[in-house]
């Protein structure tokens, strides 16, 4: 099979992706074994693979995975609903937009996770603290990207709507929203990344909840292969959420 024919195959990208990951792991294994990478910092990938079974059977991984997943889902839903609503609101009110856009952008770069003691006081050592911190950390990109998507809607598309005498509601749902949708989803994905980082980070910091809590425990036991195995489960949460957002975007496009 020629290179061009291989590239065209549907299974080629996942195969190349999987192959690249395997190659990278083999390279790390070799580098660690020959001593070029300190094995007290990076464990052998083969040890990490072995530790999966132990982490799954001994560390109550399913419950922790679901706990982190649930916290992510709750914060993801909150940041989507409030982020998009605030973005639409700012689009509708130019004065409010001009007054607050810079603040929201500044808020996006603030290390909100450092405010976790305040959240502990407000919501206690509970999942609510984790969810609220993750929600607020992921909110700015959703607001900003929603606004950007709505503002970037081409004037000619709005004029098409006007020429067909669309009502303001129709103009929003039939033209503005679908036109902004790809950019809104970029914001939601960014928001979810921030939210997941904060969920795991706060679980780690307050020693409560799911995978972040587990990573903390394993790190304190200096079980490095276990830590890396648990991190793989965090990545799995991320992958699942990205797949869900991709599906949701495709569905919304089809009904738009």
């Amino acid at each position: 099979m020629s290179t061009a024919a291989f590239t065209e195959r549907r299974w080629a990208p996942p195969l190349v992706g999987f192959g690249s990951a395997v190659l990278a792991l083999v390279a790390v294994e070799i580098l660690v074994r020959v001593g070029l990478i300190n094995r007290f910092i990076v464990p052998l990938p083969s040890e990490v693979a072995e530790s999966f079974a132990r982490v799954i059977t001994e560390e109550d991984i399913l419950r922790r995975f679901l706990q982190t997943g649930w916290e992510c889902l709750a914060s993801g839903l909150l940041l989507t609903v409030f982020g998009v609503l605030i973005g639409v609101f700012m689009h509708r009110l130019p004065l409010f937009r001009r007054a607050c856009e810079t603040w929201v952008a500044a808020f996006a770069s603030a290390p909100l996770v450092l405010a976790y003691p305040l959240f502990l006081v407000l919501f206690g050592r509970s999942a609510l603290t984790i969810i609220m911190l993750a929600f607020l950390s992921g909110l700015p990109p959703v607001i900003l990207k929603t606004l950007e998507g709505l503002l970037a809607t081409r004037r000619v598309l709005l004029n098409v709507g006007r020429s067909f005498k669309l009502t303001p509601t129709q103009q929003f749902w039939k033209i503005l929203f679908p036109s902004a949708l790809p950019t809104i989803f970029v914001g939601i994905r960014l928001g979810l990344i921030f939210a997941l980082i904060n969920v795991v980070g706060v679980e780690f910091l307050i020693n409560f909840g799911g995978l972040g809590h587990l990573i903390n425990e394993l790190a304190e036991r200096y079980d490095l292969p276990g830590v890396y195995a648990a991190i793989c489960f965090v990545i799995l949460v991320s992958v699942i959420f990205f797949m869900v957002t991709e599906r949701a975007e495709r569905w919304l496009k089809s009904v738009g």
Binding site: V156, N159, R162, S163, F164, K165, I175, P178, G256
Partner: protein
């Protein structure tokens, strides 16, 4: 054959064709940092049902302003526009607009783009898809129903826009340089398609263009406009036989019409060019100069 008969005001094609669109004493001024600019000055014309009128002029003559006023997208103008006797004060269901810029919805496939006005009108899905298919076929895009605009060429996308507007069954189809971004050959061939559609639907059409060949190929009459302020310079009756195809461009009469309209436009286009150059020069003279050693 006489080259052209000209008149200061459009009259219906025949006594039997009722006037459907009247633009009466249209004035439009814009406030700019340099002062008020008169875009349109006392523009009056009427269009008969089933007629094809082209409005031609150099860049800056207010063609697109006129398009937006007739389409109801601009307010604050002087004079009035009436459609079938009714004065319009905004977008009107009787007027369908095809824009110069790419205006298909990228998130909808061809058939859903074309069915858009029917969806807004509340036509049930099965029926609207059936009706949309008819218009897709009319613009020659059979087989492309499920394709998205990104998968189509510029000419095909403009045909989708036209089919979408036609699906709303407008009494007047208003087009603002719909083929401006296309190459000459495609433009001629799409002109054939427009002629075919006009003949099939007996559609009243108003085309805004700066392309003389396109105007002569398609129109029954051509309204020539002056460079800023946009005034009516002349109305030329195009007495080329119908039905027409793009083959007409090689005829002697066609060439004479083109020459005549160019002689009308040349002075205006020169004024426009001189104006642009003097403004560019003026802007350059006012730029801060760097300090030499």
């Amino acid at each position: 054959m006489a080259v052209a008969s000209t008149s200061s005001r459009v009259t219906p094609l025949t006594q039997a064709d009722p006037v459907i669109l009247v633009a009466d004493s249209i004035d439009m001024r814009f406030a700019t940092p340099e002062g008020d600019v008169t875009a349109l000055d006392n523009v009056s014309f009427d269009v008969a049902s089933g007629e094809f009128l082209a409005v031609i002029g150099p860049s800056g003559c207010g063609k697109s302003t006129l398009f937006n006023i007739i389409g109801g997208l601009l307010t604050g103008y002087g004079g009035r526009v009436t459609v079938a006797g009714e004065t319009i004060s905004g977008p009107h269901r009787s007027i369908g607009m095809v824009f110069q810029e790419e205006s298909t919805f990228p998130w909808r496939n061809v058939i859903d783009n074309v069915a858009f006005p029917l969806e807004i009108a509340g036509v049930p899905r099965r029926e609207r898809l059936e009706r949309a298919r008819h218009f897709v076929s009319m613009v020659g895009l059979d087989g492309f129903e499920k394709r998205y605009p990104a998968e189509l060429s510029g000419g095909m996308r403009q045909r989708v826009s036209m089919a979408r507007t036609l699906a709303s069954k407008p009494k007047i189809l208003l087009m603002d340089e719909p083929f401006a971004a296309l190459d000459e050959q495609t433009r001629l061939l799409l002109g054939d398609k427009v002629l075919q559609i006009q003949q099939q639907l007996k559609q009243t059409m108003l085309l805004i263009t700066h392309n003389i060949t396109e105007a002569v190929q398609l129109a029954d009459r051509i309204l020539v406009m002056t460079y800023r302020p946009g005034r009516m310079k002349r109305i030329v009756d195009i007495k080329l036989p119908r039905p027409r195809t793009s083959e007409i461009v090689s005829s002697e009469a066609f060439g004479r019409y083109v020459a005549q309209i160019w002689s009308d436009l040349r002075e205006e286009a020169s004024r426009g060019m001189n104006d642009d150059e003097s403004r560019a020069l003026h802007a350059h003279d006012h730029k801060p100069q760097g300090h030499g050693a």
